[in-house]
């Protein structure tokens, strides 16, 4: 069996309080993996890290062989910081010089100094963004280049005196234009370089939750997050978003391809709804569903993205025993479809007869892992879970 998910030394802290510490775990294809632990043990935080809603403070997450949360070695961090710093200094020096090339004496003008100071502030934050591996910071650099060019165009032919009605100014800077044009390919090249794959690999940008879903990891939420104002069918079709391709133009002209795709998605959504037992309710709005139905709809929506790994966050919460039993059967059937399932549950009973392997979290740490049998008898688990001194029935 191939490993589908691997988490290594994952830590996450919020403002000094660590919610997760050094979590190591893995899931293999076709398994049902359980994560248990008392409330507040950090289970949902772990899920949020997996689905990239949170970015871990340290550690790595691999989905298949793709890194979801790449770790930045200190060496790489230093490299990026150095690059950013060099760029910043260059652009700081460069802007006034660049301007003064076509605005006579710009280097010594109050305007240049003030604008320079303003840009200094902006660039400082860019620098910070760069160090934090935020992709927008690179976008900003792009923007700076564009701004310099625009300013060149804008200020180019104008005398910088207040008196623009007497001066003979041209609408476009005929002096600035060649410079701007010369700078354009350079900045384009530089910007494009950053968007290409090698650059991404070097700097290791974070990827968003949507990208994670497209890679094949879907999830449900502990407190149900459906699109309550939309119909049940549309909820599932939204789940199938990343399996579809048609964009604006195809939608506008209802091409045959788009219609076929829509039809297919609709059919598949109906099948999924039948799978979770909601076929009859397909056309009502989601907020008209009962609680248990909403949970099942969430699962259907997650399945619609054809995931390889499904994350279920306390799917049995708030269900009565009958409903939880149905749910367990449903999860088994999902596994039979070849989907790996990762479940958070604090209810041991559900997990014991469902999971192939169980990880136990407590207080942000992984305290045990193993088959349900091993877990049931692990003294550390019993202590954490049931409070000291009591032994669970074997």
């Amino acid at each position: 069996m191939k490993t589908i998910l691997r988490v290594a030394r994952l830590s996450k802290s919020f403002g000094g309080i660590s919610a997760l510490q050094d979590i190591d775990m893995e899931a293999r294809e076709g398994q049902i993996v359980g994560i248990i632990g008392p409330n507040g043990a950090g289970k949902t935080t772990l899920f949020n890290c997996l689905s990239s809603l949170y970015h871990p403070s340290a550690g790595q997450i691999f989905f298949g062989d793709r890194p979801i949360a790449p770790e930045f070695s200190s060496k790489k961090k230093k490299l990026v910081a150095a690059c950013a710093l060099v760029f910043l200094f260059l652009s700081l020096l460069w802007t006034p010089i660049f301007w003064s090339l076509f605005v006579p004496g710009a280097l010594f003008k109050v305007e240049t100094v003030m604008l320079g100071l303003l840009l200094l502030g902006v660039r400082f934050f860019t620098f910070r963004g760069l160090r934090r591996f935020e992709i927008w910071a690179w976008g900003l650099i792009f923007l700076f280049l564009a701004a310099d060019i625009c300013l060149a165009l804008f200020l180019g032919g104008r005398p910088l005196s207040q008196d623009r009605f007497l001066g003979t100014s041209l609408p476009l800077g005929w002096v600035g234009t060649p410079w701007a044009l010369a700078a354009l390919p350079f900045s384009l090249f530089f910007g494009l370089q950053l968007c290409t794959a090698p650059a991404r690999r070097l700097f290791g940008f974070k990827i968003g939750p949507d990208a994670v879903t497209r890679l094949g990891m879907a999830r449900t939420f502990q407190n149900i997050r459906l699109f309550f104002h939309l119909s049940v069918l549309d909820n599932v079709k939204i789940g199938a978003h990343c399996t579809m391709r048609s964009g604006i133009w195809r939608s506008l002209f209802r091409t045959r391809r788009q219609r076929a795709e829509e039809e297919g998605a609709e059919q598949e959504a109906l099948n999924l709804l039948r799978f979770v037992g909601l076929e009859q309710r397909a056309l009502v709005l989601a907020d008209a569903l009962a609680y248990g139905e909403q949970r099942r709809l969430e699962i259907a929506r997650a399945l619609a993205s054809r995931p390889r790994l499904l994350l279920l966050d306390e799917p049995a919460a708030g269900m009565n025993p009958q409903e939880s039993a149905d749910l367990i059967r449903l999860i088994r059937r999902i596994r039979e479809k070849g989907v790996t399932v990762l479940i958070i549950e604090h209810d041991m009973k559900v997990m014991m007869n469902l999971a192939d392997i169980i990880y136990v979290l407590d207080y942000g740490r992984m305290i045990a892992q193993g088959t349900p049998e091993q877990i049931r008898t692990d003294p550390k688990v019993i202590e954490a879970y049931l409070g000291g001194g009591v032994h669970a029935p074997a």
């Binding site: 207040q162 008196d163 623009r164 009605f165 007497l166």
Partner: protein, 374 residues
């Protein structure tokens, strides 16, 4: 009032055009509310006065005249709606309006399409004239006024260095450009130009700059509400030995409340004491009706209504004929004798008129001792 239409949409639309019975309608479109309402008030008073005078002397061809006030807030959009309303009313054969140039420009295409002649008593923007053969005005253009002011500043006041503080609007900028053009010719040095927008109240940064330039005078080609603030803020900043002057936009009693504005002078198309004998009766009647002196808006709108009435009297209510009649008043000899001087039109429908200068002395508008004749 129009309360009677408080019924149905359709009946309202149907009736809106036709409910004034037999009287000849002369609509007057201007801002009667809003920021520029004080200008509109002069227009309103002048027009109503003329209307009642016509009626008192037996109306036009025996029919009464009804002055209909249309408020357009000096907003181009409103002006266009009002213009449509008027253009589609068959009872309307000529319009008096609009006051603001931007409103005029918005209404123009509509009047032109409806072949409805219009006379503006106050739109001074240069570009209006060429836009439509159906448009006339009995007020001078900005370029004339700016030129006149430059001459006055040079020959009468002897200013050498002038700073200009203009508002970002068509009126103000047109004036400024005309002034600067002439100033260059006359050798007045323009120290600098600064701008402000209508909703600004803090003029100190720009004024501080002027202060350091030490101008002989500051030219404020704007409107009175801002003008008075500019003057008092300038004085509070310590600009004491510079004069202030403006154009007809500053010609408002609002300026009089400001003790710092002493000595400020403006151009105006109409001066009660310099106007001819025809004006004396008008001024008397105006004082009687409204308890104050007429300003130039009142005089011009009084004349514009008079022109409209004269046209209707001459050729009846056909729009095209009225237009042709107005266009035929094209020499000084054929000119319409109004209270604000003779009015005759060039081929663009613009007119050539004298400008006068008045200044604030002792908290009152008085005509300047030296006037400049064209």
């Amino acid at each position: 009032m129009k309360k009677g239409y408080l019924g149905f949409f359709v009946s309202l639309f149907l009736l809106a055009g036709t409910a004034w019975g037999d009287a000849i309608k002369i609509p007057v479109a201007s801002p009667f509310t809003g920021q520029l309402a004080s200008f509109g008030e002069g227009v309103k008073n002048g027009a109503l006065l003329k209307g009642s005078e016509i009626n008192a002397s037996g109306g036009i061809r025996g029919r009464k005249v009804k002055i209909v006030l249309e408020d357009e807030l000096c907003d181009p959009k409103e002006a266009a709606t009002v213009a449509t309303k008027l253009a589609n009313d068959p009872a309307v054969s000529i319009v008096v309006g609009h006051l603001c140039s931007s409103a005029t420009l918005a209404a123009l295409p509509i009047y032109r399409a409806a072949k409805l002649p219009a006379i503006s008593p106050a739109s001074t923007n240069v570009s209006i004239g060429k836009m439509s053969p159906f448009y006339f005005r009995n007020v001078y253009k900005d370029d004339f006024q700016g030129l006149f002011l430059a001459k006055y500043a040079h020959f009468v006041k002897g200013y050498k260095k002038v700073a200009i503080f203009y508002e970002v609007n068509d009126y103000s900028m047109g004036l400024m450009l005309a002034f600067m053009k002439e100033a260059k010719k006359l050798g007045i040095k323009i120290l600098g130009t600064e701008a402000y927008t209508a909703d600004t109240t803090d003029f100190k940064p720009q004024l501080t700059k002027f202060k350091m330039m030490k101008p002989d005078a500051i030219f404020i080609p704007g409107y009175a509400p801002q003008g008075t603030l500019i003057v008092s803020q300038a004085v509070s900043l310590g600009i004491r030995n510079a004069g202030f002057f403006g154009a007809d936009g500053l010609d408002d009693d609002l300026m009089l409340k400001n003790p710092d504005a002493e000595g400020l002078f403006v151009t105006t198309p109409f001066l009660p004491d310099k106007a001819g004998p025809r004006a004396a009766g008008f001024i008397r009647a105006y004082r009687k009706a409204y308890g104050k002196d007429p300003n130039w808006f009142a005089a011009n709108s009084y004349d514009a209504v008079g022109l409209a009435a004269a046209a209707i009297t001459a050729v009846g209510q056909d729009r095209v004929k009225i237009r042709d009649y107005l266009a035929s008043i094209n020499t000084r000899e054929k000119a319409y004798e109004g209270v604000a001087g003779k009015t005759y039109f060039d081929k663009n429908g613009d007119c050539l008129k004298d400008a006068f200068v008045k200044e604030i002395r002792g908290g009152k508008w008085v005509s300047a001792q030296k006037q400049l004749r064209q």
